[in-house]
């Protein structure tokens, strides 16, 4: 197998056994960047000399069987909103084109502590909202990679790095993961510290992780988590109870996606999973109003100075968002935050009878063109609820682009979610790769 196709856990195992050197691995991935980056445009900054120099150090350490941590020698892409000490961090905006942070974001610190090699900064949409950057889909460069974690998802999809870090405020991890045929998780907000990341709406901003297997996500998330991931106790994985949330989510999905999910549900039942229908609570229909009011208000607060001093740095969609937010009064914002609490409470009842809820991860494959980043409609209800959510690749659609599924669990149940994802991933058996 070529080195760029190794999953992270495979690479970890090869490095630990001495069969793969961190330097050889970094060189292979940089060669992959040379081969495909011109078409995908997933990176804003890669400091090759720094990457190779650090990889040489890690190689020397590995030879002596000294490993810094569970990610020793693993190159990681970082969304360009997370501060990286002495490495340019642009937020996808001309306003920060030359900004070099003096410190690392919390997730970057944790990655380094675990032995990861910071490979570079991945493209974000402009200031983490819907105005796209230059990145293209890893499976078909005429299509959007999704956003806002466009570069992070495309870099992993295009095999330029095995894992990457992104962020999600509405649908910025799950949607690009689905569009680029990769695995992702958005953990519960309190699971991973966002300190040192440029915000969009702080009560909704979440760290996210991209990889090419659920096992990779588990290892990476364990390194980032503020507390150990609880594992699921009780019956074996064949007894996972899966709730299929069909009504709203199926209405928003195309026919092909609906068919693939129904087919998967049948295969899961046949494999011993308990598949039932999950009924959404009455408050569910309120979620767009609650979410938009919070995002607009918090984004207006985040941007109130910058939009006045650097109006040229704003895309039209973010400008609209901020200006609408400036019209919402404080009591209405707080009312939305209060209704969010009730929304979370009612949504929690979904998990009285099921372990995970299964939905499509996007309305369909990635839309054509790169002028927009697609629809976050499948992620929005779960981000608002702050329920950990994973995306898994499911199948290749008739147009050659990937389709994904989304799994959601109760807050802080990432351990169980990961166990379920690994079991479902096995049933799906997705092996397709992009042909760049």
């Amino acid at each position: 197998m070529s080195l760029e196709n190794l999953t992270m856990t495979e690479a970890v195992s090869e490095i630990r056994s001495g069969a793969l050197s961190p330097l050889e691995y970094a060189q292979a991935l940089l060669a992959r960047v040379d081969a495909v980056e011109g078409r995908v445009q997933a990176w804003t900054t890669i400091d090759r000399e720094a990457v190779l120099s650090e990889a040489r150090l890690m190689e020397a350490e590995a030879r002596k069987k000294h490993f810094r941590g569970p990610l020793h020698g693993i190159p990681v892409g970082i969304k360009d909103i997370f501060y990286t000490k002495n490495l340019r961090t642009t937020m996808g905006s001309t306003a920060f084109a030359d900004f070099v942070p003096a410190y690392d974001a919390s997730v970057v610190k944790k990655l380094k502590h675990a032995g990861a090699l910071i490979m570079g900064k991945c493209v974000t949409t402009i200031l983490v909202f819907l105005d796209p950057g230059p990145t293209r889909n890893a499976w078909n460069t005429n299509h959007t990679p999704g956003g806002s974690s466009s570069g992070s998802a495309a870099a992993v999809g295009a095999r330029m790095c095995p894992v990457s870090i992104g962020s999600q405020t509405v649908g910025s991890v799950g949607r690009p993961a689905a569009y680029n045929g990769v695995v992702s998780i958005m953990p519960t907000q309190s699971r991973v510290d966002m300190t040192g990341a440029f915000p969009l709406a702080w009560s909704l901003d979440h760290v996210g992780v991209f990889s090419r297997s659920a096992a990779d996500v588990e290892v990476l998330l364990s390194s980032l988590s503020e507390a150990p991931l609880p594992s699921r106790s009780g019956p074996s994985h064949h007894k996972f109870r899966i709730g299929l949330a069909s009504d709203f989510f199926f209405e928003k999905a195309d026919i092909e996606s609906q068919g693939k999910i129904e087919e998967l549900a049948g295969r899961l039942s046949g494999s011993g999973f308990q598949v039932t229908v999950a009924d959404l609570p009455s408050i569910f229909g309120m979620h767009p109003a609650i979410l938009r009011t919070i995002v607009r208000s918090e984004a207006a607060s985040t941007h109130q100075q910058l939009i006045r001093t650097n109006p040229e740095a704003y895309g039209p969609k973010l400008r609209d968002l901020v200006q609408l937010g400036e019209l919402i009064d404080a009591s209405t914002y707080l009312r939305a935050r209060r209704i969010r609490r009730e929304y979370q409470r009612q949504m929690m009842r979904l998990f009285e009878h099921v372990d995970v809820v299964l939905t499509p991860a996007a309305p369909g494959p990635a839309p054509a063109g790169i002028g927009a980043t697609g629809d976050p409609v499948m992620q929005a209800p779960w981000t608002l609820a702050d329920f950990p959510t994973m995306t898994l690749p499911l199948a290749v659609a008739s147009n050659g682009l990937p389709l994904g599924i989304q799994l959601s669990a109760a807050p802080l149940h990432e351990g169980m979610l990961l166990e379920a994802a690994k079991a479902i991933e096995e049933v799906i058996g997705f092996r397709a790769q992009p042909n760049l």
Partner: protein
Amino acid sequence: MDAQKVTTLAAELQRRAEEKFGRERAEEMRNDLIQLARELDSLNTYTVRFEDEP
């Protein structure tokens, strides 16, 4: 949804937008302001309990 309330709220938002961003920009925002008024009205009419503190 009370259509009259939404119309009144949209007019108020339009007035605030003109004051903050000027008449031309407020006019460009008209459709978004109507949608915002609908959403804010749905929040305003939802009953919240005293213990639902954010």
